[in-house]
């Protein structure tokens, strides 16, 4: 990341240790926040259907940062988040990883178009993604455990993702402009 920065011409402050730490922290912010939120959804709050929050939060995070800051949400990071999702969610191994990587890939492909659109359109695109992700996880679950899994939780998961997106997107967008912004380092 530093090498890409050095190739651009211009005057920039000296790369002191503090500045480098600052840059690294800003770079690591999206992934760290995602992991923290995922672990937090497992805490004993006693909310009904709390387990559905975990895949929801992971999906929203990966989608948002892949669209707006893919540099900080690279494929290996997404792979790690997917692995964490599989471990915490007791999904068949690999299911969460595949889903999140595909979401990441689609976000990268659409981001040039989505970046120029308003919030509503990005939200609508996310709704399609959420439905697809829930369907994919349901299918993987059914195939890998070889039984008919009830469809209700998958529908609920997709609906919750769509409903929660604006709330999380506001927080993420604030962070995107302030503490996660490498240009402010």
């Amino acid at each position: 990341m530093a090498s890409a920065d050095e190739q651009r011409p211009g005057i920039r402050p000296r790369a002191t240790l503090g500045r480098r730490l600052d840059l690294a922290a800003r770079h690591a912010f999206p992934a760290s926040l995602t992991v923290l939120l995922m672990l937090l959804t497992q805490a004993p709050f006693g909310v009904v259907d709390q387990t559905t929050l975990l895949p929801t939060v992971a999906l929203i995070s990966v989608w948002f940062w892949s669209v707006y800051r893919p540099g900080a949400m690279s494929p290996p990071v997404v792979f790690g988040i997917g692995l964490l999702l599989d471990l915490l969610d007791w999904l068949p191994f690999g299911t969460g990883v595949v889903t999140l990587l595909l979401v990441h890939g689609l976000a990268l492909r659409w981001r040039r178009f989505l970046g120029r659109q308003g919030f509503i359109l990005v939200w609508m695109a996310f709704a399609a993604i959420a439905a697809g992700a829930a369907a994919l996880e349901w299918l993987a679950m059914a195939v890998l455990t070889w039984r008919l899994v009830p469809l209700g939780p998958a529908i609920f998961q997709a609906a919750l993702s769509v409903a929660l997106y604006p709330a999380l997107a506001i927080i993420f967008a604030r962070a995107h402009r302030s503490i996660a912004n490498p240009e402010r380092a």
């Binding site: 006693g46 191994f93 039984r147």
Partner: protein
């Protein structure tokens, strides 16, 4: 760091995503081929997290209790009258129960009844939901030198909760009776008929395989059956309730959606084989 030309680096960057997607399919196969590996990884992970969640449980519980208290203030009067009438009813039942207990003891003494050994148990705090979207399970936090084993039985204050399926060094996972994979031998208390309680991932598990001629009746009490040597008999499970589609379900006695503390009993039963122990035998038999 290795210095690569810009086109080479770009090509490498483009390759990362497909390679990782392929790797995740490999992970799927690995998880399918060796389910124990995945389970061990999960248990190790749960072990690391359980103490953190256990530390969080006390303050979060206090907050929840505080909220419940303030909302409870609103209907204090109504609660009081309801409790008074309930108390009267319970006193009547207490008298009946005491009389029956005395009679039962007398009859047992006359029959030279051998009492069942008292099971040992540990009490553990539920620290997290360990189910995910497609399973119903909880994670309990236990001390580092616990003696919990797979197949032990978890109860809360009211009834059967589930069975221990994974044990780590600081945590244990309990599969609830509502989980899709849960099958529990039960006895319908009214008719004495046996049946199987099948989890559906919904809040109410379903009754199946009752003998012809003695269908479960609405409101009938359901207790565990001892026949498969996996459960002791007569643990309270719930009451029968028919859905609008005439499917008999059981409303669990245990507060499965807000479990805080469970007791894990060791009845010394061996009806369920440990899958890790059973596996090599299954391979040898072919």
């Amino acid at each position: 760091m290795i210095h690569l030309s810009i086109p080479a680096r770009q090509a490498l960057a483009k390759l990362t995503l497909p390679v990782l997607i392929a790797a995740s399919f490999g992970l799927m196969l690995l998880g399918k081929a060796d389910a124990l590996l995945a389970d061990r990884a999960r248990v190790a992970f749960a072990d690391a997290l359980a103490p953190i969640y256990a530390a969080l449980a006390a303050p979060l519980g206090a907050i929840r209790a505080g909220i419940a208290d303030t909302t409870g203030l609103w209907d204090l009067r109504a609660d009081n009258t309801a409790l008074r009438s309930q108390n009267q009813e319970l006193r009547r039942w207490q008298a009946i129960a005491l009389a029956l207990d005395a009679e039962n003891r007398r009859l047992k003494a006359e029959l030279h009844w051998i009492p069942a050994p008292a099971p040992s148990y540990v009490t553990a705090r539920v620290v997290a939901d360990a189910g995910g979207v497609y399973a119903k399970a909880v994670l309990v936090s236990v001390g580092p030198d616990h003696s919990i084993r797979r197949g032990e039985i978890a109860l809360d204050g009211d009834g059967l909760v589930g069975r221990v399926t994974e044990v780590g060094s600081r945590s244990a996972r309990i599969l609830l009776i509502t989980d899709l994979n849960s099958r529990i031998p039960v006895v319908l208390q009214g008719s004495g008929a046996r049946a199987i309680l099948v989890g559906t991932n919904g809040p109410y598990p379903r009754l199946m395989y009752w003998p012809e001629g003695s269908p479960p009746r609405e409101g009938e009490h359901v207790v565990t059956g001892a026949e498969s040597d996996a459960f002791p008999g007569n643990l309270p499970v719930g009451t029968v309730h028919y859905t609008s589609a005439r499917v008999p379900e059981v409303v669990p006695e245990a507060q499965l959606d807000r479990l805080e503390i469970v007791r894990i009993f060791n009845y010394g039963l061996t009806g369920i084989l440990d899958p890790e122990a059973a596996r090599p035998v299954a391979y040898r038999s072919h």
